[in-house]
Symmetry: none
Subunit: 398 residues, 2 copies
Amino acid sequence: MNLVKDIAIPSPSKIVLLVIDGLGGLPDSQSGKTELETARHTNMDELVTKGICGLVDPVAPGITPGSAPGHLALFGYDPIECAIGRGILEAVGIGFALQPGDVAARGNFCTIDDKGLITDRRAGRIATEKCVELAKLLDERTIENVKVIVRPVKEHRLVTIFRGEGLEADAGDSDPQQTGMAPKPVMALNPGAEKLARVANIFLMQAKLLLADHHPANMVLLRGFSKHPHLPSMSEIYKLKPAAIAVYPMYRGLASLAGMEILETGVNIEDEFATLEQNFNKCDFFFIHIKATDAAGEDADFARKVRAIEQIDRALPRLIKLKPDVLVITGDHSTPALLGGHSWHPVPMLLNSKWCRSDRVMRFGESDCIHGGLGRIPATSIMPLAMANALKLTKYGA
Amino acid sequence: MNLVKDIAIPSPSKIVLLVIDGLGGLPDSQSGKTELETARHTNMDELVTKGICGLVDPVAPGITPGSAPGHLALFGYDPIECAIGRGILEAVGIGFALQPGDVAARGNFCTIDDKGLITDRRAGRIATEKCVELAKLLDERTIENVKVIVRPVKEHRLVTIFRGEGLEADAGDSDPQQTGMAPKPVMALNPGAEKLARVANIFLMQAKLLLADHHPANMVLLRGFSKHPHLPSMSEIYKLKPAAIAVYPMYRGLASLAGMEILETGVNIEDEFATLEQNFNKCDFFFIHIKATDAAGEDADFARKVRAIEQIDRALPRLIKLKPDVLVITGDHSTPALLGGHSWHPVPMLLNSKWCRSDRVMRFGESDCIHGGLGRIPATSIMPLAMANALKLTKYGA
């Protein structure tokens, strides 16, 4: 990444990275074809025919990535070095605007008995409306000059953000992960985290008092304390003006961690491509995220994933008409409908540009991409390749 | 490896890693086919047709591995970080049960003249029986509370193990590697190794006295002091219950360094597969080592290597009938009969599992594996891939 930073130059050329979430799949036992191989996608195939293909390992062979490492790798960050903590990811997932220095923790409303022992870690899965109401009750407290922000997530889940000077996140959970025990005090795991632990424990004490009359949600458990990761921004690294178009808050949040501008958009792919058209002159790098494929894969719905791919293909001409200098289409990981979840299988990728040195692959699919000119590459190679094809990287060394 | 350790989970699924030593080859100039491509192996081809293939670099492109790095990489250890010293490897090679903390050195019986100068570094290659007799003479001495264990190897070769507290192995050889010179005193190369150097020098002085009347084997030379490498065990890393089936002590020794249980077996592949059958319910990972291919390659015997591969293929149905969830067949390195020794050429690999995402390769061979879905991977990726295909790895990151 430092190498790329040293040789990146600004230029008017434009890169579009279209991420089809969970794109890779596994073959149906009858047809022997994956979701992508089953789908009709003449536009993608035309891009492939003039482009270059390969298979991408988001993290490493055999490793199944979550959404955060999957996307960070696509943006060029080492997904192991730049691990995103659980608390931060939860904040990102609800679209909370994190600031550098923030520490976040995931939380549950829970039930305790009159001895203070946990009887239900999820407070009977209270309704989301109740969660919103109780989060408001706890929100915006200030303890030792640290602002404690509480946001509802869904049902019994909440996220707590600690904002102030001198906070480190290396602290243990208050959630003992079992019933019949009292919540644990938050323990600093190194001296730097003592202030955070103190503030968190005072907050938890206050929460207990404030929630006393709100049985079954009469206490809060916190876990996964983690700190804003302070990634160098994509404009620092690549000298780009990068923008993100994503319907779901999680992906907008991940893009904002990478320093992208988040463009307002609607609820479907047509909205996203309209947003791209409206902003195409404003920025020179666009990350577009499409969720439907992953959702269908997670639901083990092979046919729905096929249809989602076909729908994307039908919408593609709008994007192609904008003539980005480099268009990359890939996924953040595979989500085979047969497994009903993320998997370790490498992800098909196509790169289309005037300078890509096209290979002989004619169809976009897992088995064809094996024979692509890009070979099998780590996802962190995608940004350097896109930059090079956009003629945004100068020579390394004399 | 730390990443895999964090996400590995125990499960009842079973992995078999069948290592055909020196599997890769070079094409015969007449037929244009390698040993593997010449051999008839319908069972392997059926596994390939339903499985996924690739080419494996044991250490790195261009690097010819010895048996130790070749196997450690297959077991998932970085073969450069986890280098095994010469002395330790010699002890492993005779099946000596090393303990943590042990320091071992390779040795030669040699001949010295009446001035103490070396006249023959190999003592006229004394018979192995003589070596056994003289090793017994030197064995089981205790010097400064350090037990010095001496074991015969073959002809003039022996191995010396130093067992006791506070031993470091960073010490120079006593073997000057030439005649006409006196054996060198063992020199500590850092302060921590001073105790070892002292003990080794006293041992060598005692050996000189004990061997005085045993011309031509009237002295001992030591080299390659090295320490038990303390690898994290495969059960720690992978949460597996791993077992090894190997005829030769060297490979049992390497497996035991990785913490595998060593299963007693016979002398040929049928014995090894019988051992697998008998123990299949006991463990969930089996490393099976087959030597005949490498031995034929080392002897530059192309036809014998072909026959060895055919013999393995004929025996395979016994293994396949056990239905391991994941079956990997590969080698620890190439041993082309044309070169008569280990080589740097990448090794063909096949992986067969329900979730492997099969490629279009139909035959097991070097030229076909180039087009396999695994691409060209480092050997250290094999264990993560096998673990993933056995559904023994959870997601990395949220």
